[in-house]
């Protein structure tokens, strides 16, 4: 052929060491054509790399415009060798190309594969959860055990006794300073590694890898044909050995590339974060410590000194003691540790251990802060304004069109009837956007009664566009992004009330995937929550969901599990939590006990009921309990027929005995009777108990308790009081307690059933 042999640089994705040696090697070689591993149809947006607003970390995003869930990302950090290569190529204005499979083919292959998997899953085990929802990124995220091809250099480093591939590279390159030879050596090492490792078990994956490598070789041949003299090829080290054109016939490669599926795709740049860099993504290896790598990229020498000084400054900023003397000691200890382990340079593990022993006095807590702020780093990239629009925005526009809910800069109030499909979808969209930090709509108090009405005030502000781009890192559709955001917020929510609010929000947004995750989180948080009050606040919402919510079967199971745990914990912890309450907190606790009782009744589980009754019984005999709670506990027990009427009457007279302190006694009767005016009129038993007690009082005692009883009765509206008086005037029926029991025995089923059809009609349940 006579064409110039390409210079192949096998690099480590996101490796600052590789980036540095690559940059040096490129400057030595001065190539006239540069081929980089990346989707070949993304070249149109390459120009933006040199834009002054472009700030890594950023990601090259390819997506199918009609279905943005099908997307692939190629993230770059400042210290990514590919990024450095691209910048070099653009700055020198040499011919610069991507040589990997185009996005169009990659996404089409992903989609095909997903369809096949979905089909296989369906035939294998009926309907499987994931279905069409998993996007390709997610699928790739899930690879549990990283295959060596993702980070082959780490394997070599480990074989050489290093904990981190970067430090190994650093050492190899910094010591030798002969990068050219080094790339050759790496290629040799990798071809040995590739020979040793078994081929990929998954046929599809193997095929895909073959196709990708064929495509890269094709690009090299193309460049040779065009007559470039010094071709530089930058690719993941794993691919380096097979990009040799010898041993691979052009014909075979062409056959592999023939007839590949394609999809219509769009490409753009989106801001990325270091946090997301630590996932593995469409580009292969994710890295665990982007912040540390950035540090390695910025500082060429005295890594430990600089790093530990940064750590000390960070700790000082958090009001933790960190002196320069400690920094000096930490550097010494890190060095000593490295030499004890027979490593030439201290790596991240040595740094962390030195930090823990010297700055943190053995505690691991501050290390978490260091991990978050320095080792991973909270850096968000930026892309130029002229970047093409992100899919999340497109999805929103599509939704706005579908729901006929245009974005307007003026304020307007809209009302939704949640029984209508469109209005329900609109409400969900607004709730989801709120969750994403795009407060387009604000809920208003609905004017009419009924839970199916919702009122919103809408106003679109220009800054929402920015918020949307920011939110784009959570996903490509509003639904998907809000779901991911909810999951993230749940992961950061530490206390139960926050989590409970989030759960209510997620149910409003109708995000079953997030709900599932939230339940797991709730389960974890509720187990360690020491405040029974929070547990009690969390229960009603969940009970409602369980009883009325249209959650899917699996979620219902999960919710049941969580609710079971909540009830058990509430029942155990409540008596302790009710100790020494003042009037205000007792009133709050009263309301909570009511709500909890309501939820437990709603759930209709015998197990819960028994436990709850046990707790109420415990409460009712607890000494020094606030009267309001004690009274209510007895009343609830009386209502659910756990405590016989005689016993309740005895408790009543005990609590209101003449010798009792009037204030707690007033609270007791208040707790016993609060809000029961109507019930007193209709519930014969309760009236009996009260009546028997009042009539049994000695005249002096009656005068003594009269103010207390009056205080409670005065809270009932006067018509209620009047009808109560009427009933009592007509005379109490002493046998009524027994007659009630009798009716239940003599119940005539046939007569009862006769009215059912009419009742059904009234309730609109239809004939059955």
């Amino acid at each position: 052929m006579g064409a110039a042999a390409p210079h192949i640089f096998g690099i480590r994705h996101h490796g600052p060491g590789s980036a540095r040696s690559l940059r040096r090697a490129l400057e030595e070689l001065k190539p006239d054509c540069l081929l980089v591993e990346g989707p070949s149809d993304a070249e149109e947006v390459l120009e933006l790399i040199l834009h002054e607003q472009m700030k890594p970390p950023v990601a090259l995003l390819g997506y199918v415009p009609d279905a943005p869930r099908q997307a692939a990302y190629y993230p770059f950090a400042l210290f990514s060798p590919e990024w450095q290569a691209l910048r070099y190529g653009l700055e020198r204005k040499i011919s610069l190309r991507f040589m990997d499979l185009p996005f169009a083919v990659q996404l089409a292959m992903d989609e095909e594969r997903r369809k096949e998997e979905a089909k296989a899953a369906q035939t294998a085990e009926g309907v499987r959860e994931k279905g069409g929802e998993a996007c390709s990124v997610e699928a790739l995220d899930k690879t549990a055990e990283p295959h060596p091809r993702q980070d082959p250099l780490r394997w070599l480093a480990e074989a050489a006794g290093y904990a981190d591939g970067e430090r190994w590279w650093e050492h190899m390159v910094e010591e030798r300073r002969e990068s050219g030879e080094l790339f050759g050596a790496i290629r040799e090492a990798l071809s040995a590694l590739r020979k040793e490792l078994p081929p990929l078990e998954d046929d599809k994956e193997r095929h895909r890898e073959e196709v990708r490598e064929a495509c890269m070789r094709g690009a090299i041949r193309e460049a040779q044909r065009e007559g470039f003299k010094r071709i530089a090829v930058v690719c993941g080290a794993w691919h380096a050995p097979v990009l040799d054109l010898e041993g691979h016939a052009a014909k075979d490669d062409a056959a592999l590339l023939n007839g590949l599926p394609t999809a219509k795709v769009k490409t753009t740049w989106i801001p990325w974060t270091y946090g997301r860099l630590s996932f593995s993504s469409g580009y292969g290896a994710g890295i665990e410590s982007p912040g540390w790598y950035e540090h390695l990229w910025i500082h060429e020498a005295q890594i430990a000194e600089h790093w530990l000084t940064r750590v000390a400054r960070l700790l000082r900023g958090e009001d933790l003691n960190a002196s320069s003397a400690q920094t000096i000691e930490a550097v010494r200890l890190a060095d000593a540790l490295a030499s004890l382990r027979e490593r030439p340079l201290p790596g991240l593990p040595e740094m962390n251990e030195a930090i823990q022993a010297i700055f943190c006095f053995g505690s691991a807590l501050p290390l978490r802060l260091i991990h978050e702020k320095l080792i991973v780093g909270e850096v968000l990239g930026a892309v130029p304004d002229s970047t093409p629009i992100v899919p999340l925005q497109q999805d929103l526009e599509r939704e706005q069109k579908r729901l006929r809910l245009p974005a307007k800069a003026s304020q307007e109030v809209v009302e939704f009837d949640l029984r209508k499909e469109t209005d329900l979808d609109r409400s969900r969209l607004l709730h989801r956007l709120n969750l994403l930090g795009v407060p387009w709509g604000e809920t208003q108090r609905a004017r009419s009664k009924g839970t199916f009405r919702e009122s919103w005030r809408l106003q679109w502000k220009p800054e929402f566009a920015v918020a949307l781009i920011d939110a784009a890192r959570w996903g490509n559709t509003v639904r998907e992004a809000s779901s991911a955001r909810a999951v993230d917020r749940a992961a950061n929510a530490l206390d139960l009330p926050t989590l409970t609010r989030l759960i209510e929000c997620v149910f409003l947004c109708d995000l079953p995937e997030a709900a599932e995750n939230l339940m797991t989180r709730l389960q974890a948080v509720s187990a360690v929550a020491s405040d029974v009050v929070h547990l009690m606040d969390a229960l009603p919402a969940l009970a409602d969901v369980l009883r009325y919510g249209n959650v899917r079967q699996t979620d219902a199971q999960m919710v049941t599990y969580v609710v079971d745990g909540l009830v058990a914990r509430i029942c155990i912890g409540l008596p302790v939590a009710c100790g020494s309450l003042n009037d205000d907190t007792a009133a709050e606790m009263y309301a909570r006990i009511e709500r909890t009782h309501g939820s437990i009744t709603l759930l209709e589980k015998d197990e819960h009921k028994t436990m709850w009754k046990g707790t109420l019984l415990k409460l009712s005999v607890l000494p020094n309990l606030h009267g309001l709670i004690a009274g209510r506990a007895v009343r609830l027990l009386f209502d659910s027929s756990v405590m016989p009427s005689e016993e309740s009457a005895r408790r009543l007279s005990l609590a209101l005995s003449v010798n009792a302190d009037p204030v707690p006694a007033a609270a007791w009767i208040d707790g016993f009777l609060r809000g029961s005016g109507q019930i007193l009129i209709h519930d014969e038993r309760l009236l009996q108990v009260l009546d028997a007690w009042v009539t049994g009082l000695a005249p002096d005692a009656f005068i003594g308790v009269l103010p207390l009883v009056r205080r409670t009765f005065s809270t009932f509206p006067s018509p209620e009081r009047r009808s109560m008086g009427d009933r009592l005037k007509r005379g109490a029926k002493p046998q009524s307690l027994k007659s009630e029991e009798k009716t239940s025995e003599d119940f005539d089923v046939a007569r009862g059933e006769a009215v059912l059809p009419l009742v059904r009609q009234l309730l609109g349940l239809g004939e059955r």
């Binding site: 003397a325 200890l333 000593a336 004890l340 027979e342 053995g362 505690s363 360690v528």
Partner: protein, 358 residues
């Protein structure tokens, strides 16, 4: 000579230390008997090229020992922290034995530890007869260590009163000990260092001043990482103790030990072994040592009052006692654990019922 109940580490493992010294060709810090590598090997165990085997003295995380040895090699003082029963003293003794060949320079920290035990005291008869002189001086273990370039040990550093602790500051930073009465000073010989231990559960006793804290590298000794490791430690100790106390009855079944260790670990870590359910942790330490005592007392109960075989009933009382140290909070934690975890677990019904009865 009567038989000694317990030999010093350097006596008991003299042959291993000798074999290591012979095989050790790496660079030694001045006045060290072994190189840092050999010290780490002595504690963690391993095989020598010459064929000898070194038994592991510390079973657990390798990192911990490496940091400890590296600290001593950088002439910084070492503070071993940990809950009771995590082998702090054990590690300190073996470190001193391996580095200096002498683990006897020991100051036992108590609330009554006086400055004399950290600095020096006087032989009063001589002081009165001859006046102040080096001969009338009674050096403390620390002063001895400074003069000979050896490791000194301080047990329970946080129990020592704060003003006595402060006497250590100059020793640690300037490596000298002033004797104002004689207008002299003792300068530490290379190889001198201090290994201190402290209990981080009752750190509040005499919290170290930040000046002193800064002069120590702190290494926290963790509780056993793997369940199997802990079960093995408990099993061995129960066996040994049973033999020493001459307990009748059969050895407890491994399954029961496993159960006790699992309960301890779950409560300690605040989650179930399968990692699916979170739990509250009680205020009690729940160290391995306590697990040993629960199994042992259960065994004694079974032998003397039960059927001779360890059952859930024999364990219940000990378990409840070990977990519930605070009558209010811990009881809630324990009940929650019983209701949400023990009750649901297959084959644990007997334990659930037994614990409910207690």
């Amino acid at each position: 000579m009567a038989e000694i109940l317990r030999a010093h580490a350097e006596q008991q493992f003299a042959s291993e230390l000798k074999a290591l010294a012979k095989a050790d060709e790496r660079q030694k810090p001045p006045n060290w008997k072994l190189s840092p590598w050999a010290v780490a090997t002595y504690l963690l165990g391993g095989k020598l090229e010459s064929g000898g085997t070194i038994t592991p003295k510390y079973i657990g995380n390798r990192r911990v020992i490496e940091i400890a040895v590296a600290t001593l090699a950088t002439d910084r003082a070492l503070l071993l922290l940990g809950v009771p029963g995590t082998a702090k003293t054990w590690v300190a003794e073996h470190l001193a034995a391996a580095v200096s060949g002498d683990s006897t320079l020991l100051v036992q920290g108590t609330a009554g530890t006086a400055e004399e035990s950290v600095r020096y005291g006087w032989n009063y008869a001589r002081l009165l007869a001859e006046g102040p002189s080096r001969k009338a001086l009674v050096p403390s273990p620390i002063m001895h260590a400074m003069q000979d370039g050896k490791m000194a040990r301080i047990e329970e550093l946080t129990r020592i009163p704060a003003e006595v602790q402060d006497a250590l500051i100059t020793v640690l930073s300037e490596k000298t000990l002033q004797i104002p009465e004689l207008n002299e000073q003792v300068q530490a010989v290379k190889g001198f260092n201090i290994i201190a231990t402290a209990n981080d559960r009752d750190r509040g006793v005499n919290e170290l001043s930040s000046a002193l804290k800064r002069r120590f590298n702190t290494v926290v000794l963790p509780l056993p990482e793997k369940a199997d490791e802990e079960v093995e430690i408990v099993r061995q100790r129960v066996e040994q103790l049973g033999r020493a106390l001459e307990l009748p009855g059969e050895l407890p079944a491994l399954a029961e030990i496993r159960r006790v260790v699992q309960i301890f670990r779950e409560l300690r870590e605040g989650k179930t072994a399968d990692g699916k359910t979170k739990l509250k942790s009680p205020t009690s330490t729940l160290s391995t040592a306590e697990a040993i005592s629960v199994v042992n007392s259960g065994r004694a109960l079974a032998a003397h009052y039960g059927e001779g075989k360890l059952t859930a009933r024999d364990l219940a009382a000990g378990l409840t006692g070990a977990v519930v140290k605070d009558p209010v909070q811990d009881r809630v934690v324990w009940q929650e654990y019983l209701e949400t975890v023990v009750k649901e677990r297959d084959g644990w019904k007997d334990l659930y019922r037994a614990c409910r009865e207690v």
